[in-house]
Symmetry: C2
Subunit: 340 residues, 2 copies
């Protein structure tokens, strides 16, 4: 353990897609935990598209960033010193340490991680907020029936892969949308999707029509924009669209228009907005269901791990260009030795 705390800071609001120069870096002393606090060292930093929105400093997020502030973010960390009654050194926690090696916490919003369930990094992916997002959107909002066609975009990312596999476990016919041949092959081979369409391959409307000849019963939308538009032109009667993510819009200053709504009326479709925080009371249910499938070998995911905190800005910029392949993580510190 070095005696310094490396941090990545917010430098400025990006214009359009973020670039590494939108971030800064510095070093501080390792903070000391006060009464009722614990100190933890960051093992994994989660990279999530919504950070781009936080960097806009809009008012929809609680976090407001001034230049020089450490970037906010979810992490998995190991408690190394504690004056908090509920946490002791060696505990693994999901905590919002941000983009830095060490942080103190008073325990607010902290979640204890059970390392026996699955690799601890899943607490930032399929067994964390992305998994909960997928579970809520698929099980509670979309509720696909056996045999129905379930389409999910960004389908190899943590939300998309979980949503598609949950739908598959519910008996749906799952068709993914992704941005490369490799991702599409992975979706069919490893995730068990019926088909996967590469949106960079040209006419997405026609490709979806071919992959979904009976129309799309459910669309789990992680991207918005032109992909959503193409889906609306292939809806089955009574289709449900779960609006979850709009990654294209996060890098825009003025929100883009949505799709022409005529096809929504024609298909008697329902569009529903998903906010994961509404469903947190189901978190343990989600973990119980998904971790059982993980143990049984019928649910998988892929991590895209960048080594070292200093490369986090560049990894985040890749994510925002859709160039990650799997859950984007930064390994900030060594994996802890788990004593079972």
């Amino acid at each position: 353990m070095s005696d310094r705390n490396q941090r990545i800071t917010f430098a400025r609001s990006p214009r359009g897609l973020p670039v590494p120069e939108d971030f800064g870096a510095d070093e501080t002393a390792i903070p000391a935990p006060g009464p009722g606090q614990f100190l933890s060292r960051t093992v994994y930093l989660s990279l999530d598209p919504y950070y781009r929105n936080v960097m806009k400093n809009s008012q929809i997020y609680q976090d407001r960033l001034a230049p020089g502030d450490v970037m906010v973010g979810e992490t998995v960390a190991e408690v190394i010193e504690s004056h908090h009654a509920d946490y002791k050194p060696g505990d693994i926690v999901a905590v919002r340490n941000g983009w830095q090696q060490y942080a103190v916490s008073a325990g607010q919003g902290v979640r204890r991680i059970d390392p026996s369930l699955a690799p601890i990094a899943t607490a930032l992916g399929v067994l964390g907020m992305p998994g909960m997002t997928a579970y809520a959107g698929t099980v509670f909002l979309a509720a696909p029936l056996p045999g129905q066609t379930f389409v999910v975009s960004a389908c190899t990312g943590p939300v998309g892969c979980a949503a598609g596999q949950i739908a598959r476990h519910m008996g749906a016919r799952v068709v993914g949308i992704a941005g490369s041949k490799e991702k599409c092959e992975y979706a069919v081979r490893a995730l068990g999707f019926e088909a996967c369409v590469n949106y960079k391959d040209g006419d997405l409307v026609a490709a979806l029509k071919a992959a979904c000849p009976d129309g799309i019963d459910v669309y789990f939308d992680n991207v918005g924009g032109s992909t959503l538009e193409a889906v609306t032109r292939n809806l089955a009667m009574g289709a449900r669209i779960v609006l979850c993510g709009m990654i294209e819009a996060y890098s825009m200053d003025t929100p883009p228009p949505g799709p022409w709504l005529g096809p929504i009326v024609g298909a008697r479709a329902t569009m529903k907005g998903l906010v994961v925080y509404d469903h947190m009371h189901k978190f343990s249910e989600m973990q119980r269901v998904l971790s059982r499938w993980i143990r049984e070998g019928s649910f998988t995911w892929r991590d895209d791990v960048t080594e070292s905190l200093s490369r986090a800005p560049e990894a985040f910029c890749r994510l925002m260009r859709g160039q990650n392949f799997g859950k984007a993580l930064v390994r900030v510190g060594a994996e802890p030795v788990i004593r079972q």
Copy 2:
């Protein structure tokens, strides 16, 4: 009874808003009913915004129009000669006679009208398809709860006035949107709405915020476009939007984009497309409920009647510019004498 049949015909697909020159006029012989047919004389012709879409000759409607064809449309008519077992002279029917004085029918899609329920013109308005549209969207799709804020656009038209009054009868707080001071005053005074916003008065977002301080729980959308956009910026949590009409779009060649969907997600809102034909099995329920309210004096409507078929094109163009005030009708023939 003259021995000629005056007709208004389709001349060409309008460019943008329709103009009277998009229509033609001619005279034919009065047709003779064959076996299993009846002849009726048109009393009222209904003018409905969807005719503008039919005039596009797009494939979403069954009716295809060639230049010189009589314009399609719903009418209330009196049977004057019948070889049909179910209809006899003097019967009042809702029938798709189109824009002409006389037509024969084999009974398909014909609905018998009970003149004791309400004035027969209501069969084209609040007790007809517009009423059914309002009833289905409000009762089955939106389901406002007592005390919730229910907003409806085009609120003095047949769908809007029925939707708002049904919501009021369900205990909701109803706020209308209309395009003139007179319409707004009528909505509050005669329809019993809590408030009505004139969308031509400037900042609609702010006006809705003032009229709906707790946000909009239900929006019954008859217009789409910028009005829908303004509503999305005032949604209450869990809001429902019923997509029913998009009058702005009917006069466009390329469908316009929809609203930015971010607020739908933020409000956990649901948008649902309404197609009235899905709900026709509830038609008698709708008539029973609404006609009781009419008898009790707690449900009203307004007709905007244009005298004589020859003025139908100009009345239709007014309707598409939002210049009607109430259900747009053309009186094609004299009111029948009803023998009770």
